[in-house]
């Protein structure tokens, strides 16, 4: 494998791994805080158990997020030193603020995890909320850095020089808002449905049904609302890139020729050589409408760009179809959930209903990875859109493929161990229920 390809894969694998843990780290604290709040209000011990059960899982996810994030901050240089040489000072603002957010998150987590029965209950609750808010803030900040790669701002590019750098303008680039909004919602959708699915499965097994129902409802209240808002935010993103990154939109839609009143292509296999899409459903004028709010508007196609500036059409198109398809499926599940809470309470216990949500467990995360594939692959061949090519940024060191193999090995083992620990954690829940009445119980097993 050539080094450039290996470096791209290593970056993609590392980010794709980190994002899962980052999302869980951003969203679970809100679920915990909700359940914790219910406990403080209603004094039902089950809510306390739920909060604690979740917080143990979160500790495992948190450390995996932290180490994979640390790896990333080195990898940016290890793989793309020439990118960081120029980009570091320009898009560094979000990272320097993110440092603060991480720190606060870590400190608050220390208070929260080790603070049961040590602080006043509401102070303790509040530290949990701080974990969530600072997690969200760090997510939004780092996405602002990524948005800068899509929509470079805050410097003048003259004769290969990066002049008049303004880090604040770089942070608030044109893409940051649409990406941050979409990403934040996506974190709630993916984590919400994953958590709900696991608890739905436990309800099906008939263990601690009341406990798991509480968890299921909290996760879906967040995940469901976010899933319904997601297409709206996705539409904002699409309208935005239609103007900013027309080549990416064209690749997403496999739209080869510029024209007016362009149809929306659903599904299908792009045939890049012959510039057409096989087996697709076409909705007349819909792409023009979605991109520019007018059925007759002109949409720029790939023909407007030289061949060497085309993103990989196949990957981008298919990833986009996966994201949108799953997004719609999740909207459906969310509507079903809210409808049954409102009108058909008996469905909430029905096996078919729970099975639907069990099947929904991975969908949010698949959509999330697909969405990032759209954004990142759709930016190619640029690492900084229109400014620096990915191939010009890669490290000169040979043999990157070996470090790729090592990282894949490490991430696969970590994923296996985390899954294994999670299963043990879930199986141990009845244990913690039995001990629940003992206030002095040590929440953390120590092997002393």
């Amino acid at each position: 494998m050539e080094d450039l390809l290996a470096a791209r894969w290593q970056m993609a694998v590392s980010l794709g791994f980190h994002i899962i843990f980052a999302c869980i780290g951003m969203v679970m604290p809100f679920f915990m805080a909700t359940s914790h709040y219910q406990y403080l209000k209603t004094k039902k011990p089950l809510y306390k158990d739920l909060t604690k059960a979740w917080s143990k899982g979160v500790a495992i996810f948190f450390v995996t997020g932290a180490v994979s994030g640390t790896v990333l901050s080195f990898e940016l240089g290890l793989l793309w030193p020439k990118f960081m040489l120029h980009a570091g000072p320009i898009f560094g603002m979000p990272f320097s603020l993110e440092g603060t957010a991480f720190f606060i998150e870590a400190i608050a987590l220390g208070f929260f995890l080790y603070g049961w029965d040590r602080f006043s209950p509401w102070f303790h609750w509040f530290t949990g909320v701080v974990v969530g808010i600072s997690g969200l803030a760090s997510g939004i900040l780092v996405v602002a850095a990524n948005a800068w790669m899509n929509s470079p701002a805050g410097f003048d590019f003259v004769d290969g020089q990066y002049l008049n750098v303004d880090p604040i303008a770089a942070m608030f680039n044109d893409a940051w808002f649409s990406q941050a909004l979409h990403m934040t919602l996506a974190a709630f959708v993916s984590t919400g449905f994953a958590v709900a699915g696991i608890h739905a499965y436990m309800m099906l097994k008939g263990k601690n049904v009341e406990f798991h129902r509480m968890a299921f409802v909290i996760a879906l209240l967040f995940g469901g609302v976010a899933a319904i808002l997601q297409p709206i935010s996705g539409d904002i993103s699409a309208k935005d890139i239609a103007v900013r990154q027309p080549a990416k939109l064209a690749a997403m839609e496999a739209h080869f020729e510029t024209g007016k009143s362009v149809p929306l292509i659903i599904g299908g296999l792009p045939d890049v050589k012959n510039k057409k899409v096989d087996y697709a459903i076409e909705i007349p004028g819909a792409l023009s409408f979605l991109a520019h709010g007018d059925f007759d508007a002109e949409v720029i196609g790939l023909d407007q760009f030289p061949e060497e500036d085309h993103p990989p059409v196949m990957v981008t198109h298919i990833a986009f179809q996966i994201m949108v398809g799953l997004g719609m499926a999740l909207v459906g599940l969310s509507l079903l959930f809210f409808f049954s809470r409102w009108k058909k309470k008996e469905w909430l216990d029905a096996r078919w209903f729970l099975w639907l949500f069990v099947l929904g467990t991975p969908l949010g995360f698949i959509a999330l990875e697909a969405g990032w594939t759209v954004t990142e692959v759709g930016r190619q061949p640029w690492i900084i859109y229109g400014v620096l090519r990915t191939e010009d940024a890669v490290s000169p060191i040979p043999g990157i493929v070996y470090s790729l193999f090592l990282f894949v090995g490490i991430y696969v083992s970590l994923a296996v161990v985390v899954t294994f620990l999670l299963i043990r954690q879930i199986k141990a829940v009845p244990d913690s229920l039995r001990k629940a009445s003992d206030p002095k119980e040590n929440p953390f097993p120590s092997n002393s």
């Binding site: 994979s68 570091g88 720190f103 040590r118 880090p167 060191i397 490490i410 120590s446």
Partner: protein, 340 residues
């Protein structure tokens, strides 16, 4: 404003070495603890570093961010030429962090614990070793920006006696910090006696490794003796450190927790300070003779200014809450809560 950034850079490195170092050291101590004591030491480690573990490793991230935002040329050059040891250090960081948490949060205590413990102790050793090695390679003068052959560009800059000896020295320092730190946490006399012996062992190891560093530097033409001869400031600092070390050796069994920790912290701070003073303003010394300094490698214009403000703003939030965290968990610890 550049000076604000430089101070923060130095400060984060120092705190990472002190706090992160004590943290790594706990794993190193575990490695040299006889089987029958291991469980106690493990429990002690968990009680002491559990709540602040996550915060400790943040100092490394702050250091990296300061480097790539403020001194991109340094970050970029080191990333290229020290790619291999940086990767090895990363593997250490991954192994350590995950094994530490997994072993305490695994809902079932079984043979998996053996695996976690093995990974934890080995990576506690590997990480500081490469940290020290990278630090030494950066100032060792063996980085050749023009090298075209693989070994010359990517291996010899760090695979040399000087860098390796600094790696070993760093491991010794971490063990020393942790041993002294844990003495204050000992649950009973036997445990305390054990930890005092370990502390003295690591004091010896540190002094010995320090000697080897100078020897290796001489052999490799790294101009380090200036640190001992000639510069009045560094000689003074190192003398004070030696005195502190001797006091610590004698007083350790009797001294209060605070005093012994302060002395240990002082010793390590002094060593770093002497190094820093000796090399300032160089960060990377290359064999081509064109060194990167905190001045010529700094980003120009606004990035430094905004970085400085972000750091200042951040510390307003961070320092008080971090202080309160440490205070809360120190205050409420009482001997009765010590199981073991």
């Amino acid at each position: 404003m550049l000076y604000v950034v430089i101070v923060f850079l130095a400060f984060s490195i120092l705190l990472y070495v002190l706090l992160g170092g004590a943290d790594f050291g706990a794993g190193i101590i575990e490695l040299v603890t006889p089987e029958r004591m291991k469980n106690k030491i493990r429990a002690r480690t968990y009680e002491t570093i559990g709540p602040i573990w996550e915060a400790n490793h943040m100092w490394l991230i702050i250091t990296i961010v300061i480097l790539f935002v403020g001194f991109p040329a340094v970050y970029s050059l080191l990333s290229i030429h020290l790619h291999i040891p940086l990767l090895l250090m990363l593997f250490g960081i991954i192994g350590r962090g995950t094994a530490f948490v997994f072993r305490h949060y695994d809902a079932v205590q079984d043979e998996m614990q053996r695996v976690y413990n093995l990974i934890f102790t080995v990576s506690s050793f590997v990480t500081p070793f490469f940290l020290g090695l990278i630090f030494a390679a950066s100032i060792g003068g063996k980085i050749d920006p023009g090298a075209v052959d693989f070994l010359g560009a990517y291996v010899w800059p760090w695979l040399n006696g000087f860098s390796v000896s600094v790696g070993v020295f760093t491991v010794a320092i971490c063990g020393f910090l942790a041993a002294v730190f844990l003495v204050g946490e000992a649950g009973n006399e036997a445990e305390k006696r054990f930890l005092v012996t370990r502390s003295r062992l690591f004091i010896l190891a540190t002094v010995l490794a320090g000697g080897v560093v100078f020897l290796a530097a001489e052999l490799q033409d790294v101009p380090l003796v200036g640190l001992l001869l000639g510069e009045i400031v560094t000689v003074g600092i190192l003398l004070l450190a030696t005195v502190a070390m001797i006091v610590l050796w004698i007083q350790l069994p009797k001294a209060g927790r605070l005093l012994s920790r302060a002395l240990a912290g002082f010793v390590v701070t002094a060593v770093l300070l002497a190094f820093g003073y000796h090399y300032f303003p160089d960060i990377v010394i290359t064999s081509a003779g064109e060194n990167l300094t905190v001045f010529n490698a700094a980003a120009v214009g606004k990035p430094i200014e905004t970085l400085a403000w972000a750091l200042l703003l951040g510390s307003i939030f961070i320092l008080p809450s971090l202080g309160y965290l440490i205070y809360s968990f120190q205050k409420e610890k009482n001997p009765a809560s010590h199981r073991g």
